[in-house]
């Protein structure tokens, strides 16, 4: 694993938030390298900056300093429009609260990111059906999110995240809103995506059981990234 080329490289990344006249540092001097095919868990107490770090890696927030290079592209230099295009191609995002579009069926939610691609309707159908099969929800394709359980909704969200075959999968507390059984299902699915499909997964979690699925665990505390910790497999 160590010999693999780093896919994600963070150099001297910092991020602050402004609260009134007060500047609050959230991340400081973050240096991180994530090899291709890695399953990394970011842990840390609330307010430690792990979700912010995930957002920066996913290109949905901007750094105040430092660089983030993913697949050879320094995303900190991209404009809003370029960044949106880059996200559509390279990032699959899994949210804590699934964030499915309520007026779209499971099938349509999964198809959504493909609307930005040049794929034909037939090709889109093939991709969506494959993603539905992967998350074992073929029989629920016509169901709206309100007709699905939390675990099923998160599986739809995972299918939506992988349907474009992104470079990295980022997950922000993917099991945070699920019962233990559903959480285990989701974690197994993410593990399979990593081991069988070779997807690079970066996951933020509070849950030590979830973190156990990762190959590498990094801790954030008060905006600083602590020493490297290899998970026991």
């Amino acid at each position: 694993m160590e010999s693999k080329k780093p896919l994600v490289i963070l150099r001297d990344v910092c991020k602050t938030y402004q609260r009134g006249s007060q500047t609050i540092p959230v991340l400081q001097d973050i240096n991180l390298e994530i090899p291709e095919g890695e399953f990394l868990a970011l842990m840390g107490p609330s307010g430690s900056g792990k979700s912010t770090l995930l957002n920066l890696i996913a290109g949905i927030d901007k750094t105040d300093c430092g660089t983030i290079t993913i697949g050879g592209v320094d995303i900190t230099t991209l404009s809003e429009t370029e960044l949106a295009h880059w996200r559509g191609l390279h990032v699959g995002f899994i949210f804590q609260f699934y964030n499915l579009i309520p007026v779209l069926t499971a099938y349509e939610n999964i198809e959504l990111p493909l609307l930005l691609s040049a794929l034909s309707k037939k090709e889109r159908r093939q991709h969506v059906e494959m993603a539905l099969q992967m998350v074992s929800l073929t029989d629920r394709s016509d169901h709206f999110p309100s007709q699905l359980s939390g675990g099923q909704q998160q599986r739809v969200a995972i299918a939506r995240a992988v349907v474009t075959d992104p470079t990295i999968l980022v997950a922000d507390e993917p099991t945070g809103d699920l019962d233990r059984a559903s959480a285990a299902e989701i974690l197994d699915l993410m593990e399979r995506l990593n081991t069988q499909l070779g997807k690079t997964v970066i996951m933020v979690t509070h849950d030590p059981r979830a973190a156990e699925k990762a190959r590498v665990i990094r801790n954030l505390d008060k905006g600083y990234l602590n020493v490297h910790h290899q998970a026991a497999l």
């Binding site: 957002n55 996913a58 880059w86 964030n99 007026v103 779209l104 609307l115």
Partner: protein, 385 residues
């Protein structure tokens, strides 16, 4: 799935709110269309006027007459081809509420100058031959169920007494804007009667109408007519038929301005209603738009979703409003035919409806779009509950 499908589903997410907004828009477009049609109806006389006709009246006021002897002098003026004349009769048919315009005219010259009033040759001949003959417009004949040969009695207001006429023809308008609610009878009948009843009022004419050889010389001929009677006891004022009709409209201009203002106020009100709907929808979907952005959708996509929904609602209301304007205008026009004889929803009104709806859609979507597009994704995602 297509974006249109998503727009449709988003629109129907709050069915009652969408229904009420569309209902409001339908009523607003209907009201706007009707008010614009009222304004158009007000100007119908102006629109129907011909560039080849001049009107001469007493320079002091229309209520004062001119001597019948002027017609010979006018006829001799260079550029004048035909001279006709008439008087506003102001007769009442049975009851004052049965109002319609009625004039004493010189039949032959008048019908020559107004080819837009179509009569059969037999009707024309019968009208010319019968001194007590009269012709009525199709609409007024239908309104009172008149048939050719009927005796129609008008109670004179300006010219006292009961006046019997024999209906010799029912004219149709050549153009949609031709007034089919008028009633004409032979000026000779009026004049001969006045000679007996009130000789001082005989040989008096309310207005002359001149048919021009060359419409481009209208101003020159009008000036020549007025110059002919300058410093006479009864000076004249000659103007194009259009200017003459505009003079009538200008007397009620305040009402027209008020109607126009109200029509725009209606649009501004509905603009606020749609803007409110769009603002609520966009605010509720801030989190969803953040998800869209996360998935790679850009600012233009988000703007397209909000503008698309705004257009979807507005254009549905606009289409329903336009569809209901036609039957409503028909009912309104029938009820008001005595006062607004030409009440047609014009193509221009429909275009104005569409333009108003487009403006409403755009204005209503601008602020919600600006907010949704500019919110940071991380901040937007926090708004998901």
């Amino acid at each position: 799935m297509s974006i249109i499908k998503l727009l449709y589903r988003n629109t129907l997410r709050h069915k009652l709110r969408t229904f009420l907004t569309i209902l409001g828009l339908t009523i607003a477009i209907l009201a706007f269309g009707l008010l614009r049609t009222v304004v158009s109806a007000w100007y119908a006389g102006v629109e129907a006027s011909s560039a080849s006709r001049l009107i001469t009246r007493n320079a002091i006021s229309l209520v004062f007459t001119l001597p019948a002897s002027y017609k010979e002098k006018i006829r001799q003026i260079e550029g004048v081809e035909t001279v006709s004349w008439g008087n506003w009769f102001g007769g009442i048919y049975i009851d004052e509420k049965n109002f319609f315009a009625n004039f004493a005219v010189d039949p032959k010259t008048y019908l020559k100058l107004y080819p837009e009033f179509i009569l059969t040759p037999e009707e024309k001949l019968a009208f010319f031959r019968d001194r007590k003959g009269a012709v009525a417009g199709r609409k007024v004949a239908e309104r009172f169920h008149w048939k050719i040969g009927d005796i129609i009695t008008l109670r004179g207001t300006i010219f006292p007494g009961n006046w019997d006429f024999v209906l010799r023809g029912i004219y149709r308008g050549r153009y949609p804007a031709t007034d089919e609610t008028q009633f004409f009878f032979n000026w000779e009948y009026l004049n001969e009667s006045m000679k007996k009843i009130s000789p001082r009022r005989a040989d008096q004419i309310g207005f002359y109408i001149e048919g021009l050889k060359d419409p481009d010389r209208a101003a020159e001929v009008a000036a020549a007519i007025d110059a002919s009677f300058k410093n006479s006891i009864m000076e004249t004022l000659t103007e194009t038929e259009k200017a003459f009709q505009l003079g009538f409209v200008s007397m009620t201009e305040a009402i027209v301005i008020a109607i126009r203002l109200v029509s725009f106020v209606v649009i501004i009100i509905i603009m606020a209603v749609v803007a409110n709907t769009m603002a609520m929808s966009a605010r509720e979907r801030t989190g969803e738009y953040a998800v869209f952005k996360t998935l790679g959708f850009g600012k233009w996509h988000i703007a397209g979703l909000i503008f698309g929904e705004s257009f979807f609602i507005t254009m549905t209301g606009c289409a329903l409003g336009i569809l209901t304007t036609f039957p409503a205008a028909k009912a309104f026009g029938d009820a008001m035919s005595a006062f607004l004889p030409i009440f047609h929803v014009s193509r221009q009104t429909i275009y104005l409806d569409v333009v108003a709806a487009v403006i409403v859609a755009v204005v209503a979507a601008i602020i919600p779009t600006y907010r949704s597009v500019n919110i940071r994704i991380a901040e937007g995602l926090r708004k998901i509950t």
